[in-house]
Amino acid sequence: MKRNPLSFQIDTDKFSFASENEKRSTNLMRPNSTFFVDGLKRFVKNPVAMVSFIFIFLLVIAVFIVPLFYPYKYDEIICYRYTNRASGDFLRLAPFAYAPKELEAMANGTKVFPHIFGTDGQGHDYFIRILVGSRTSLIVGFFAAVIVLIIGGTIGALSGYIGGKFDLIVMRIVDVVYSLPDILIIILFSTTLAAVFDAYKESPLAKLGSGFVAIFVVFALLYWVGMARLVRGQVLNLRKQEFVMAARANGASTARIVFKHLVPNSMSVIIISAALQIPSAIFTESFLSYLGLGVKYPTPSLGSLVSDAQSYVSGGDTPKLFLFIIPSVLICLIVLSLNLLGDGLRDAFDPKLQK
């Protein structure tokens, strides 16, 4: 419709509804993103942490799945597959080497699975022992962290929440326990537990090994204090924050405040700190197993495998050195990548570090 430019007539077109396209163009906000997604994006961009994560992920898959269908068992002495008597031919085979009896069997058309890492001094297949040893270490690390998280988290949260005399007493206990020398107490416990288990050989705990149990006992008794301090600090800190007060002023229930505000805000710090317990527990376990206080034969652990192989090192038996190198390198790699992974998680998920 042609209209007079000086007319006051209203152009009705300008009052039609906006199309979807127009609506979208006025939307300046980016799509909603949660704290978790943000953190995940930061984490994926960190190459060191990602490499560590992939390594640990593959290792976990390998140690839990491969032993299920691997042709040798970790406590199986290979020579008894071929003879009834113990045979020295099967001891300390080089990687991918075969014993004479195995070559014979292969010549007769039987399939013999290669010993990828050779065999050890007792005639076990070394590859499966390395896998199961790594599994032991990872399990110790994980459960130790869980124990610390549960005990330390509960006590710390209660202490921060209740406050007053209870808090005072708990914090004094924490101070004292914090100054106890951990390794000495662990060794003390594992020595005595070893003696106790010797008396009760049939109990299921004894089969796990004294050092194994001692580590858990000690983590439960000693290492909760760091976590308790952290959680208490978080609770005290968060309770004073304005957003909690605002939520309360808006009439939010205690449950809503706890689950919507306190837990999400403190969770990342707490989980990360628990994650960093894992490598330290693995370190302690390998140390104890090296000293012979950890897992009991035939269960392998990376520390006990190093300990078994150390005579080749001090004896200068170079061809047998792989028995020492493989578990040693694995301990270093596992602890290193778990450390880096924990640091990466902290960089990605700790809100206080965000720049």
Binding site: D175, V176, S179, L180, P181, I183, L184, I185, I187, L188, F189, T191, T192, L193, A195, V196, D198, A199, P279, F283, S286, F287, Y290, L291, G292, L293, G303, V306, S307, Q310, V313, S314, G315, G316, L321, F324, S328, I331, C332, L333, V335, L336, N339, L340
Partner: protein, 311 residues
């Protein structure tokens, strides 16, 4: 201020004594879990003999009285007589071994301190250059290497292959048997101190007083040593306590690997022999040593850093 400091020291000393007594308590009661008494041998002793022995060592008393006695004797470092080394007092065995362990430990601590501070300062002043990156990678990696692995690797390279040092210290005079143990024990603290010094030096380098010093026209070396190092070394002092803890822990295996007859070796031996008085004595004395070093390190920290507030 001074009164506050003394109050703090007093509080820490009391806490230290309490911790020591707690360790003694834990040791005593944990040892009660061990099945069989000290007279359980392969050849059974007659009941009369056991009764006499029990009476002589006060084992016929109620447990709680025994505990109080043990506590009392632990205060004067009397931990009884070793089972294995017949008739030798536990305290004597430990103190003899201490000379070796302490010299290794102190040398390792000094080595770690000197090398760590030097490397850390150098890395901080050359931030993001190749050497800095290299140091960061090496220190990150070396924190993940267990002390028994590093000891065995050193032993293999320098003693077994190159023959630079003897593989066993038996019958050898001088310091050569101590070189590898000191290096092995100092590796972890060196890495830690390097990182600590680097980050604190970076912190200090950005401070205003450093710019002022530069503006005054001081030589860079003088600025770094006189103004920088003084401030950047403070966090390192807090690490003294944990450092001795890690050296003592490490020495348990390091001494075994290098066959040095120090406290660590005795501790491990006493465990394999189930020599309970020796185990208890070593635990308590090592604990006391750790408590002492932590105390000293915390107090030193306050002395060198007056800005810290007491808690």
């Amino acid at each position: 201020m001074n009164k506050k400091l003394w109050g703090y020291i007093l509080k820490r000393v009391l806490l230290g004594i309490l911790t020591y007594l707690l360790v003694v308590t834990v040791t005593f009661w944990v040892m009660q879990l061990v099945p069989g008494g000290p007279w359980t041998r392969e050849k059974a002793l007659s009941e009369v003999t056991i009764e006499i022995l029990n009476k002589r060592y006060g084992l016929d008393q109620p447990l709680f009285i025994q505990y109080l006695r043990y506590l009392g004797r632990a205060i004067i470092f009397d931990f009884g007589v070793s089972y294995k080394h017949k008739g030798v007092e536990v305290t004597k065995i430990i103190f003899d071994a201490f000379r070796i362990s302490l010299s290794v430990g102190i040398c390792a601590a000094f080595l770690a301190l000197i090398v760590g501070v030097a490397l850390g300062t150098y890395a901080a002043t050359h931030q993001n250059k190749f050497f800095d990156r290299f140091i960061m990678v090496v220190t990150t990696a070396s924190v993940a290497v267990p002390s028994f692995v590093i000891s065995l690797v050193l032993l293999y390279i320098f003693a077994v292959n190159l023959h630079w040092v003897p593989t066993s210290p038996v019958g050898i005079k001088g310091i050569t048997p101590f070189i590898l143990p000191v290096i092995a024990a100092s590796l972890y603290p060196t890495a830690y101190i390097t990182r600590l010094t680097r980050s604190s030096t970076l912190d200090v380098l950005g401070q205003d007083f450093m710019r002022t010093a530069k503006a005054k026209g001081l030589a860079p070396r003088r600025i770094l040593i006189k103004h920088g190092l003084r401030n950047s070394i403070t966090p390192v002092v807090t690490y003294f306590g944990p450092m001795f803890a890690s050296i003592i822990t490490g020495s348990l295996v390091i001494e075994t690997v290098f066959q040095l007859p120090g406290v660590g070796t005795h501790f491990i031996d006493s465990m394999t022999n189930r020599d309970y008085p020796l185990i208890m004595g070593t635990t308590c004395l090592l604990a006391l040593l750790l408590i002492f070093f932590t105390l000293v390190s915390d107090v030193t920290y306050i002395l060198v850093n007056p800005r810290v507030d007491f808690d």
